[in-house]
Amino acid sequence: MNNEIQHTSTLSGPSSRRSKNAVGVWGQRISIALVALIVVACFATVDYGDKAPMSWPTLTHTFSQLLRPDWGYVYDGSGEDLVSLMLQTICIAFLSMIIATVLAFPWSFISASTLWPHMPAIPVAAKFVTDILRAFPELVYAIVFVKVVGPGPAAGVLALGVHQIGMLGKLYAESIESMDTGPAEAMESVGANFWKTTLFGRIPLLAPIFASLSLNHFEIAVRSAATLGLVGAGGIGAPLIFAIQSRQWNRVSILLLGIIVVVAAIDAGTGWLRKKLL
């Protein structure tokens, strides 16, 4: 259908354009085919029989336990109950999010390729740094920071914070790359330098996006608290892991409930803030 029309095109441009497009189209098709092939191959080679038959008694037992949360654990004044530990977890997650935001924010401007049209090497190098930060699993950071500041919430804060610089840095940079450049262009046209353009033409548009990405990572940090339990870095992680390992589903259930409540609250906050900033 489309071919018919392409002949009637009157402004047929130089022939090089057409061949370049053709290469682009073929390149695109080949890469799509390749990705599809990989996906299909992955799906095809999984051994789906490699699982135990669902055992209904286990299922019902687990669920009946999950539905009977251990309410006694919510608060007992010992400082090792859900409320106290959850508070600690929230503080860990919040601080790590702040650290990550504060550091990832400037870094994302260095690693956004659209801001460095004349020096493409800089964003590539900056992105590589965030890639390295992301390549280390959280657990490794946790071990390192326990070694540095000793076991406790402080190690958790640092571990999550450093890990999230890499994650947020990437997402921030990508949103800078895909933002509307019109307003920034207008600032540039009055002779504003990079900083002024950014302050007036970019940050107002990016603020809501960055804020919601950061808040998402606040939530992710709350979830990651479980990993911190592995190394004794504070929060609800350790009790959660102990409860899981010993199949104390009613304890798991109350801990999970705590996390859900907190995350839902953060989520509500996120929504409100996004609406305000948009």
Binding site: C42, P153, A154, S224, I259, A264
Partner: protein, 271 residues
């Protein structure tokens, strides 16, 4: 210029009429954040000075990683392929469910507020469950193995990508949506025709972002008997074989860089 009435009406310009219109509100917000940060640091006992003083300990740890055990790669590549396979399948499964669900979470495909709210809550809960717990629950139901690993990854991806996608949908340019509405398109058509093109490159990059997280998540998934790089990382760590840890991390780094490059090139193409 002929603005005399204005000049008269604004002989003195209070700060509140300049760009500092919300100065006090903004300062209060800032102060609140500072207070929260201070409060949180005292609860957690975080002190950056302490961290910097002991930075040599971190250096000590990382110096262990400087000598990768290259020959070990011979044992690494099968778990590597397992990890990639698990991540690919898990991510794709998660995405397949997450994208339509993300549309349900916004007011674009349904006007039923209750449905929207319910979808968001479901997504919240799914997203909230820590990986370790998710893995434990799934193992309790379907036993250990790859399938459990894939299910864990898929559910996690569903939660994370779903949220990112619905937040992106909330911020698309409403113009094309209006245009689609104005020709009588129903909500699904609007979603497919006016929203999807605007968010497709974001979805692509979130998908790759999730894929990347999933590769690292296999560290946790090693626990469910799903194999993969995670098992190697964990055992090398606990046996203090840092030369092997280093090789595993380097492998992950290569994957991360590759995914990042892919994400960048897809976005460039779509932009």
């Amino acid at each position: 210029m002929s603005g005399s009435p204005i000049q008269r009406s604004a002989p003195r310009r209070a700060l509140s009429q300049t760009v500092h219109r919300h100065l006090w509100r903004n300062l209060a917000t800032f102060a609140l954040i500072v207070v929260c940060v201070l409060g949180a640091s005292s609860v957690t006992g975080t002190s950056l000075i302490d961290a910097f003083e002991n930075a040599d300990q971190a250096a000590d740890f990382f110096s262990n990683l400087l000598h990768p055990d290259w020959p070990y790669f011979a044992k690494l590549w099968i778990p590597l392929l397992q990890t990639i396979r698990m991540s690919v399948v898990g991510t794709v499964l998660g995405l397949v469910f997450a994208i339509p669900f993300a549309f349900l979470c916004t007011r674009i495909v349904t006007s039923n507020r209750a449905l929207t709210a319910a979808s968001r809550i479901i997504m919240d809960i799914v997203r909230t469950i820590p990986n370790l717990l998710l893995a434990a629950l799934i193992v309790a139901f379907v036993g250990i193995g790859q399938v459990s690993g894939i299910l864990t990854i898929a559910i996690f991806t569903f939660g994370v990508v779903g949220q990112l996608v619905y937040q992106t949908i909330d911020t698309v340019d409403p113009g094309p949506l209006e245009a689609a509405h104005s020709v009588g398109a129903n909500r699904t058509q609007t979603a497919v025709w006016a929203v999807a093109p605007q968010v497709r490159d974001d979805i692509a990059s979130y998908a790759l972002y999730a894929f990347e997280i999933n590769i690292r998540a296999s560290v946790v998934l090693g626990y469910v008997g799903a194999g993969g790089l995670g098992v190697l990382l964990n055992s090398s760590l606990s046996l203090q074989r840092y030369d092997r840890v280093s090789l595993v991390i380097l492998t992950v780094l290569v994957l991360v860089v590759a995914v990042d490059w892919l994400s960048g090139s897809i976005r460039r193409r779509l932009r």
